[in-house]
Symmetry: C2
Subunit: 458 residues, 2 copies
């Protein structure tokens, strides 16, 4: 039994879904672990601590739980630090979105080309950037050998920032978006266990770089082409696409036709205005909800969060309830616990991770974090797969603009320059005057919740 | 006396200004040369041939003139090929601009971030791209040792294209924009002969990478800072900025303050919407004409072209007129003739040229053409100066987006894909729907003048 110490930052977010804590409890290497739950919101922390302890107890898994609002206390001697914190939560981001809309920025200033993902803030990512840096600084001092597992968005920007600014800390980004490939395989008539697939790119902008028959090596892209030609229209006519269905949406097929590789997962949520000009357009490309980030789709999500939170609250307040009747007892698709299992137990595993580029994607700069599959070997080392170069068209029209957006947000953050926030908006198609850009930045930085950000961006 | 053969493609454009032909006549290595004038417009060609012959005769310079509409005939055994051709001229580009405006694209679809220069077509540059490739193909066959001197815009895109597609031909791009540095030196109280300055970047997006006292090596940027703090406001209040005054405009000063290096020449014409949203904005940043490309500025230019053309026509039709009374007899600031002199006469010269990047600007890809100063040594070799890395902010917010725009136009051209023209417009802030983008592309490709382009983009 391994006595590992895992520190979960932002544990309170588990009041919306207990999945990450569930995975840390049911993963193979959990028995004997200490799980230190950290959150600044005491009420949420208490609720999550209670739920987590009861859940593990019911399953008779020997995990020691701690709870604290003192991150540094929890970090001392940690082996793994899992960052799921999303300061301010959706209340905060929705408030910023509303101010954006008041100033003529449909869906808020951070909903823009190559990033329409509702909770993925690159321009206004200050709290996420600063928190990640602070955690990493603390880790350098208190647990320099630990690995930081970054789950909170924006994964691309945060892991890139850590790579640039706190390179002594081993940081890995995790995102489950790539599992969008599975519905695609299914509708294309492919059996996941029979195929080798490879996805690569940067977080939320990944592409199916390989799809082969596992036994013969045969290229299986033609199965996708066949689906598009024969059954796709019927699927879209007869089945309403729900949340997180972007991979099998008309938008993804359109992107594939133009750019030559199939976009996977959230990639269609991180593309151009073509698919997002307005709700009507979004419905045409993503189905009746208009996708996961539209006025409708996002509200459905937020309602689900709320319903989940209420359900978990009821369970927390009812000591007689059996949690395992309500919460799955099997691990989900998130891979951060697989990574911990692999390293802790010395089990070789293939995972899709966000790590510092080291010419793995040779067309992208090495000061970026990239997302690609790799094998975690028994000694815990990462062995990234060889990725063929992207088509030039995809590189120039998609990946490079996406990288620029990240660099803009990170440059503004690094320099603490309010003027650079304005310059980012000057490059936004919804900006019609310099004044409009300045006004919206001032309004957002004047929010009581943003006093820290206002001090940072001078 | 050197018997060099120089082929001038698009010689007919000299009916608007005789400067390029004047320079080819008065340069030191001119005597003994053959100057083959090529144009498909017979009327213009005849007029230019007559003017050029008379001009050289008056100055008693021994140049042999030829005229032809057969480019291949003229190219045979050429030593230098000077491409000044601008197919369709301004009538053509103004027609495309008007169609753009009808579809909601203020100043036309090619007037956009990082390129508001009126006759610098990257998206619709088809005729320039194809012509340059055709010339280079002919050169490979008919004068493989010759150098192609590209003067016609878009210099960045065309020289990059030649570098990628016809690398056997030695092609160099020339642009006189960098001489915008001289008015800046003067208003900053500096004597040009006392300073060393260095500019670098890509064509129409160049920056003052060094400004030093020639004798002491002292950094002279503070002289610019002093001008900005003390006299700039007064200059702008008391002196109306005219055409091609962008370097000393409020826009350039603003760009310098934000990006850390001073933009030179046309760089402010190749920047963001901040300075170009509308005429009122442009006037604020560039003076009462609104800069060289505004509704007013461009009309002033076109009127000047016309007046010049009429003046030259009168001179052409009046065999008694003494041309040297009307046309300067000294070389201008354009450097293509300096280059010819340097190579032909083995005279070492420092010139600002556009050449294939070879890690000279290490932050930019080597498949691009870059603009920087270099010494042409006695043996004709080019010795580019060492350039310090650009500030990251300038790289990410300016140079990389500018490079992307070039790559977009060139990718659409290389693939002949109409869809990619639409995709470029999808990335344009003035596009509010996919239909708008498709409609304007269809309208422009339906112009009788664009049958060749319509066949190319399928």
């Amino acid at each position: 039994m391994v006595k590992q110490r895992i520190c979960l930052i932002g544990a309170g977010s588990a009041v919306f879904w207990l999945t990450w804590i569930r995975d840390l409890c049911v993963m193979k290497s959990a028995p004997g672990s200490t799980l230190a739950l950290v959150d600044v919101n005491k009420e949420r922390l208490d609720a999550v601590y209670g739920l987590a302890s009861r859940y593990a107890h019911e399953l008779k898994i020997d995990i020691k739980f701690e709870k604290t609002d003192d991150r540094r206390e929890a970090l001392r001697n940690a082996d793994y630090v899992v960052n799921t914190a999303f300061p301010g939560s959706h209340d905060y981001t929705e408030k910023m979105r509303a101010i954006g809309e008041e100033h003529g920025y449909y869906r808020g200033i951070d909903s823009v080309e190559f990033n329409f993902v509702s909770d993925y803030y690159t321009l206004l990512g200050y709290k996420q950037y600063q928190l990640a840096l602070d955690i990493a600084s603390d880790m350098e001092e208190l647990c320099p050998e630990a690995t930081l597992l970054q789950l909170a968005n924006p994964v691309f920007e945060v892991t890139t920032l850590l790579h640039r600014e706190r390179s002594k800390v081993k940081a890995i980004g995790f995102c489950d978006e790539y599992i969008g490939v599975y519905p695609l395989l299914m509708i294309a008539g492919l059996v996941p266990s029979d195929v080798n697939f490879q996805v690569a790119g940067v977080n939320h902008c990944i592409w199916l770089t390989k799809l082969q028959n596992k036994a013969t090596g045969e290229n299986l892209y033609p199965a996708i082409d066949k689906w598009i030609q024969s059954d796709a229209q019927e699927l879209w006519k007869n089945h309403d696409l729900g949340l997180w269905s972007e991979t099998i949406s008309p938008a993804s097929v359109d992107m594939y036709k133009i750019y030559g590789l199939y976009p996977i997962g959230d990639t269609a949520r991180s593309f151009t205005w073509k698919y997002h000009y307005n709700l009507e357009t979004a419905k045409r490309w993503f189905g009746p909800l208009g996708g996961t980030d539209s006025e409708i789709g996002l509200q459905v999500r937020l309602d689900r969060f709320q319903a989940n939170a209420e359900r978990l609250k009821r369970l927390a307040n009812d000591p007689t309830a059996k949690l395992t009747d309500h919460i799955a007892t099997k691990k989900g698709k998130d891979e951060f616990s697989d990574y911990i299992d692999a390293v802790t137990l010395g089990e070789e595993k293939r995972l899709v991770l966000n790590i510092p580029n080291n010419s793995y994607l040779a067309q992208l700069s090495n000061d970026l974090s990239v997302e690609l599959p790799m094998v975690v070997s028994k000694d815990g080392k990462l062995h990234p797969e060889k990725i063929d170069p992207f088509p030039k068209r995809l590189l120039n029209f998609v990946l490079m603009p996406r990288v620029l957006r990240a660099n803009w947000g990170l440059e503004a953050f690094a320099s603490g320059s309010r003027e650079m926030l304005v310059e980012i908006l000057i490059r936004d198609p919804r900006t019609n005057s310099e004044k409009q850009a300045r006004d919206v930045i001032e309004a957002i930085l004047s929010m009581p919740e943003n006093q820290d950000m206002a001090r940072h961006y001078r």
